[in-house]
Symmetry: C2
Subunit: 311 residues, 2 copies
């Protein structure tokens, strides 16, 4: 229930971070691309095969130290259905290595359609009486602009299948305030209002660590709002983008955690995938470099929050 | 520029409606399913093949009278990458028949990631110097919760490739008001604020009929808000869900149009796909029934708004 499985992975590995797998073809070393293009042509299929190989090599090097991956759907969709197949295979591979998988799709729609998204990403689809998993992630990011109709089908699947969702509350991008920071006549901001809806949506789905299956996305680039929401949304687990390439540091991210070092997971995407550049290595060393960066990031966050304690 | 191509299709066919292709396997006649399961097994692949055949049969029967289709991504994703391939093939097939294609994906993300979604759904992906279209729709629905960073990459592609977007403003579902109707301290509602952002985002992309490439989703189930936004967002073309199965009628939808019968397109999904049920026919007659319902809907809307005039 809730994010218990993720939290247990975090405690065991003493690492509250998630590796964002948002692979652009530009990030993939020439040797992998050449081999895939030779087999499948310089096509969407060839590109998708290269992405999958790249992802698997990173997963192989980090699964023992990083509790979760977060593939971003957009970077797979841009390679067509072939890319989406690579997303599906990436999810399956990471799960086979014991990682918790958060599909970053920011899906949203009205109730009947959200049932389809919930089945697609977290549940199963019935075909002739058999239940087939389409993508089978452990959690999905969603956008709550449509209100509870669009969230209810997800709550049902979270409860039935031990899954989770992260609702966008205060996003990490520069323009996030254009709507999210607007003040309501009650004095609350739009993001605060959305954060409190998360508390309410998750109220029946609280797990043994005190966090519900309805998490929130709150960016490390807005540390004050992160601290504010941590204090207000006590049962809401945070997925925190914006560390690293987007400018957030460990002292910013620290605001996402409770006194036991629980309550949040910090994402790094480009920082992990392109670590070889920063480390002055060659692109062929991308997977080793990703591991070194994952370890550095873990130590960086732990130095700010201390030991992560089961409660 | 803007939605000129769509508007010209609407004027030529004197039909301001779009057929929503949200195919569930339950809607597909037994004969199509049996044949596809025989070839591909009772698998996601077999199900996806059945959806594609169902869609093509409907498109064949309506493309001469209906200007556009709106496939809803969720109903394809629930059948895995195989379903997403059927989405891609549905889009290509409808375009080959001269229809305007609106992918209903409600995508949203920060800027760098939105570039990937824009390339995926409206633009092209570069592989070894070649530009390959991943999905190649004419327009995409998006969610503006993240502000202009998440919209700018779409504006660029709209301008370069003559595409359009529809931003969620006031959605058709019962709970849409939970966030969207909240009043800001300025007295504006959240949906009104979002609608005015659409006017602003589209200001450089206005086409020859006075409507920009940045449209808005406003539901027929909220006719007062539809009239309000039509008056306030004069350059914003509306995609209007909620007609038919969700409860909106022609007199409600009428509020979306300007005095020339332009400015909006009304969607029907289940009404078209499941028309055989309402008409007392057998499921094998689904495509003929879809055509009859498309004609009935066209006449219903035209009887409320009158002739659609080029201006």
């Amino acid at each position: 229930m809730g994010f218990d499985r993720l939290i247990e992975n975090i405690i065991k590995k003493q690492n509250p971070t998630v590796a964002g797998l948002d692979p652009k073809l530009d990030y993939v070393p020439a040797s992998i691309k050449e081999s895939c293009f030779k087999t499948y042509g310089a096509t969407l299929e060839g590109a998708a095969a290269a992405l999958l190989e790249f992802n698997k090599a990173i997963i192989d090097k980090i699964y023992d130290i990083v509790p979760a991956i977060k593939p971003q759907a957009a970077y797979y969709e841009m390679y067509g259905w072939q890319g989406v197949r690579a997303l599906s295979e990436t999810i399956a591979y990471a799960k086979s290595k014991g990682m918790f998988v958060i599909t970053d799709g920011k899906r949203n729609d009205i109730g009947t359609t959200m049932e389809a998204y919930a089945a697609a990403h977290l549940g199963a689809t019935e075909v002739e009486g058999a239940e087939l998993e389409a993508f089978g992630a452990d959690a999905l990011t969603v956008n709550g602009y449509l209100g509870s109709d669009g969230i209810d089908p997800l709550l049902k699947i979270c409860s039935e299948r031990d899954k989770g969702i992260f609702v966008l509350v205060k996003t990490s991008n520069p323009s996030s305030g254009e709507l999210q920071d607007k003040k309501l006549e009650t004095g609350e901001s739009v993001y605060e209002s959305m954060g409190m809806m998360c508390e309410s949506w998750g109220s029946e789905l609280v797990g043994k660590y005190g966090y519900s299956a309805v998490g929130a996305v709150v960016g490390a680039t807005y540390p004050e709002q992160l601290a504010e929401m941590r204090a207000k949304a006590a049962h809401t687990f945070f997925l925190v983008p914006g560390y690293g390439a987007q400018g957030g540091g460990a002292q910013d991210a620290k605001n996402a955690f409770d006194q036991n070092g629980l309550g949040a997971i910090i994402n790094s995407s480009r920082g992990i995938m392109c670590a070889w550049k920063k480390q002055g290595l060659t692109e062929e060393d991308f997977a080793e470099a990703a591991r070194a960066e994952a370890l550095r990031m873990k130590e960086d966050i732990l130095s700010a929050i201390g030991e992560i304690k089961a409660v």
